[in-house]
């Protein structure tokens, strides 16, 4: 009966092959065709272009910068929130999660309103003329955006680290700084490298920010998007995307190496309370200042959204008005309900699937494990548009026709968010010692019992984080689903896009407010559910099938 052990890994692998590899290859295949003929002409054409090197270099620098800086920022905020007693730390925690719920269209609008050539702060207050449309703005907005990912991943591991080891180090005479450097940081290392990987991939795949804020600065993703949407050249778009993937795969390989080096560090599971680090004053002041600056920037962006939605015209006429909200009864309600259903479904699936895949990747030994890990991480590196095109190509023809259904929307969204679910699960499981699981097994518990009674409760922060992220991302998702959604299905993100096409900033902002509220509602709901012990056991019962009989 040995083979039965492989049923689950095999199923997951097949699902990922079908919903990651197949659509990705479908679209990459296009890069090898020229007017229906197989060939490498697209690649020679691309390599001929003198600005290609500049584009690649620009993408890598911005992605590297965004990854390092947002991980650092996420680490500082997470340490401040969970490991100090500094004032306002709860506010910092909220600020770190906020960028996630602010729709991208809104944050760039707000950024330009504040810091643009006619910006409230840069021009009207300080009378500066700076080159706002450049790689710098892309980097700034990406850092603000991705810090959330880093913060979430790092928090998920930081929360679990008890203070016994830290205390041990202290007793051995280590200074607080040394405790942080030699104990705390190594313990949350899986979270750190996970954050570096994901933010790098996300930045490489982000085409929207360079498109709006980049000016003449191009990345591989934005160049690929414009080939597809501007010049209708799907082959060239696919070629540029293939080049993008080569670099992302390289970084994934680096990630695996880094993870293997640090694999020795494990935490004993502790019931002990988290203790604060008593860091020296200058360090604390520095951390606190960074948090304040970050939070100020985020809250200013948020206030700008309110201004855009509740005033006549942001930047020109600040008379308060509710007229932009007139669009809601006409367009909003049906979409709101659909969006809610859509987001709730994906968040449940991502929360569960993420930890299951993470368990397979970290705890089980089987051939194809690396492949599984790669397939479940890859979607973060593929721009949404290309993913959507891949799905449309793959699933509008035999053998599996899914186009136009709710199912394809949910699947593509789950797949696109799964990398975060997986990474947060992996970082938590990597960090934990297996002794309790082993004990559970020795006492005769089945793997599945161990999974639900030991692994799941311990990995709760990771499941929570990925469910939250999935919910919020789904509310805003557009790039991939625009190629897959059936015209009869209305969702909020499409409505916002309609308002933008129409050219009405106020209506787009008003609809974004609804998205924002919905996201907050989801965050609150998931948070509340996860905190109540009753609900937890209820969920566990459903999962293990032990519904009160």
């Amino acid at each position: 009966m040995k083979w039965q052990k492989y049923i689950l890994p095999l199923t997951v692998l097949l699902v990922l092959l079908l919903f990651v590899a197949y659509p990705t290859l479908s679209v990459l295949f296009k890069s090898f065709t020229v007017e229906g003929q197989l060939g490498l002409d697209n690649y020679t054409a691309v390599l001929d272009k003198p600005h290609l090197l500049r584009t690649i270099w620009g993408s890598l620098l911005v992605a590297g910068g965004a990854a390092i800086l947002s991980t650092l920022l996420g680490l500082i905020i997470a340490l401040t929130v969970f490991k100090t007693t500094l004032p306002l730390r709860r506010l910092f925690g909220i600020a770190a999660v906020l960028p996630m719920i602010i729709p991208g269209f809104v944050s760039t609008l707000a950024y330009i309103f504040l810091f643009g050539r006619n910006g409230l702060i840069t021009y009207q207050l300080l009378n500066l003329t700076w080159d706002v449309y450049s790689w710098r703005s892309v980097l700034i907005i990406q850092i603000l955006d991705f810090t959330t990912i880093a913060f979430l991943l790092i928090s998920a591991v930081l929360i679990i680290v008890g203070s016994q080891i830290e205390d041990a180090a202290r007793n051995l005479g280590a200074s607080e700084w040394e405790v942080l450097k030699t104990v705390t940081i190594p313990l949350i290392r899986p979270g750190l490298i996970g954050a570096l990987l994901l933010t790098f991939l996300r930045s490489m795949a982000d085409f929207g920010t360079p498109l709006i804020l980049g000016g003449s600065f191009n990345t591989l993703a934005s160049a690929s998007y414009m080939q597809l949407i501007g010049t209708y050249n799907i082959e060239m778009a696919s070629t540029l995307n293939a080049i993008l993937l080569v670099f992302s795969l390289g970084v994934f390989w680096l990630y695996l190496r880094a993870q293997a080096i640090g694999a020795g560090v494990r935490v004993q599971l502790e019931s002990g309370k988290r203790k604060v680090l008593s860091l020296s004053r200058p360090v604390k002041v520095m951390m606190w200042t960074i948090c304040v600056l970050f939070s100020t920037a985020i809250f200013m962006l948020l206030i700008s959204v309110f201004l855009a939605a509740f005033t006549k015209h942001i930047g020109a006429d600040f008379t308060l008005t509710l007229e932009h909200f007139q669009i809601l009864p006409q367009r909003g309600w049906n979409s709101t309900i659909n969006t809610l259903f859509f987001a709730a479904t994906t968040s449940v699936i991502v929360g569960l699937l993420g930890i299951i895949v993470a368990y397979l990747v970290t705890r089980m030994k089987f051939r194809g494990r690396g492949m599984l890990d790669l397939l479940a991480t890859l979607p973060f590196a593929i721009p949404g548009t290309l993913m959507g095109v891949g799905y449309a190509l793959a699933f509008s023809r035999a053998p599996l026709v899914l186009s136009g259904t709710w199912a394809i929307l949910i699947i593509v969204t789950v797949i696109r968010v799964l990398p975060l679910g997986l990474r947060s699960g992996v970082s938590v499981l990597m960090q934990q010692d297996r002794s309790i699981e082993d004990a559970s097994a020795n006492l005769g518990a089945s793997r599945i019992t161990t999974f639900f009674h030991i692994v799941m409760p311990l990995a709760r922060p990771a499941v929570l984080v990925s469910a939250l992220y999935a919910f919020v991302t789904t509310v805003q998702t557009l790039g991939a689903i625009i190629f897959l959604i059936n015209p009869s299905i209305k969702v909020l993100s499409v409505n916002v896009f309609e308002a933008i096409v129409k050219g009405s900033v106020g209506e787009a902002a008003a609809l974004s407010m609804v998205m924002l509220l919905l996201s907050m509602l989801g965050v609150l709901a998931i948070y509340t559910i996860s905190r109540r012990e009753v609900t937890q056991t209820w969920i566990r019962r459903i999962l293990t099938g032990r519904i009160a009989n």
């Binding site: 689950l8 330009i112 186009s403 900033v505």
Partner: protein, 340 residues
């Protein structure tokens, strides 16, 4: 052995999730009802159009708004299994390519007669329902602030006073920009045209990738003048912003925004009814209300929208410039390599 058995639970859960998702498949696609029409829209105010069309004909419209390029891409990739009946709105260049790719079905609506021959396909693959015109969107506050004069013509834009205050999009990626460049070459002739463009582009610090972006820059007061499609549109939708639309006196460039039926449409009869209705006087009136554009027929315009007779419209040669695109773009890239 025990855990082998228990493994089935995970299998069951996964199967249940899969089943639930597949069950929703059934909800997503409605059975082929008679009075339904599905369309991809790259046009403003689709809700109003859908509502009025249903009132007039009893046919319910299900629409999805996308950009023109997204519609074309989506139609291409789902060619094997078309998901929609009608493509409504967008740039004629995308429709011309769609026709070449075999994505459209010809239909000669009796009402197409009302549209000038220049604004529709000769074989009836698409028919222009309105025109997108290229003009300037001027931010009055910024213009005053910088002490600039209101530009009235293309030639005005060559004035170095506008240096750093003029914004436009890139012809490599934007239909608006390509129409501008090729239209100017047509009006002024190649030699003089490039001479003028050299001066105009010297005033533009960088080029936006999409055609609509310069308009939002002018709207936000970041640049005094933007070269944009349908400059009156943003003025109408943002009445409280300090904006002036300018239709250049020395030549307005335009392209038709068409309607077309998708090859393999599931509701072919309804699609034909829709095309007829769009081009009828009633339909044209509704379109005018939904999205304030210069009409292709003689329907009356709403306030703020110029009528065809008020504009010095260039008889832009779509076929010629469509064929010469590669040459023009290469020349553009050689002349202005810094925009790449």
């Amino acid at each position: 052995m025990d855990w082998c058995k228990r493994y089935r639970w995970i299998g069951t859960i996964m199967a249940l999730i899969l089943a639930a998702v597949l069950a929703m498949t059934a909800c997503g696609t409605k059975p082929g009802e008679e009075k339904v029409l599905s369309m991809y829209v790259a046009y403003g105010g689709p809700d109003i159009i859908a509502q009025e069309f249903e009132k007039a004909t009893g046919i319910k419209v299900e629409f999805l708004t996308m950009s023109s390029g997204e519609v074309l891409t989506r139609l291409l990739v789902e060619k094997a299994n078309p998901q929609t009946d009608v493509w409504f709105g967008g740039g004629s260049d995308a429709f011309i390519q769609a026709k070449e790719e075999g994505l459209l079905m010809p239909y000669n609506s009796p009402n197409a007669e009302r549209v000038k021959a220049a604004f529709r396909d000769t074989e009836g693959y698409w028919t222009g329902v309105s025109l997108v015109i290229v003009g300037f969107l001027v931010n009055n506050d910024r213009l005053d602030d910088k002490g600039l004069a209101m530009p009235e013509t293309w030639v005005d834009l060559a004035d170095s006073a506008y240096n750093g205050e003029l914004m436009a999009s890139n012809p490599n990626t934007s239909g608006t920009a390509y129409t501008t460049v090729s239209g100017i070459l047509q009006v002024m002739g190649e030699e003089k045209g490039w001479e003028f463009l050299d001066k105009m582009y010297a005033n533009i610090p960088f080029l936006e990738k999409t055609g609509s972006a310069p308009a939002s820059k002018a709207l936000a007061g970041e640049y005094a003048v933007g070269i944009v499609p349908d400059p009156h549109n943003l003025v109408i939708h943002n009445p409280d912003a300090p904006l002036t639309p300018v239709f250049p006196a020395d030549g307005v460039l335009a392209w038709p925004s068409p309607v077309a039926i998708i090859s393999g449409a599931r509701h072919l009869d309804n699609a034909k009814i829709f095309v007829d209705w769009c081009l009828s006087p009633e339909g044209q009136n509704v379109l005018m209300q939904a999205s304030p554009r210069v009409p292709t027929t003689d329907v009356e315009t709403v306030e703020g929208v110029p009528s065809l007779s008020q504009l010095n419209l260039v008889a832009y040669d779509h076929l010629k410039w469509g064929e010469e695109r590669q040459r023009v773009i290469e020349e553009f890239n050689t002349r202005y390599p810094h925009y790449q």
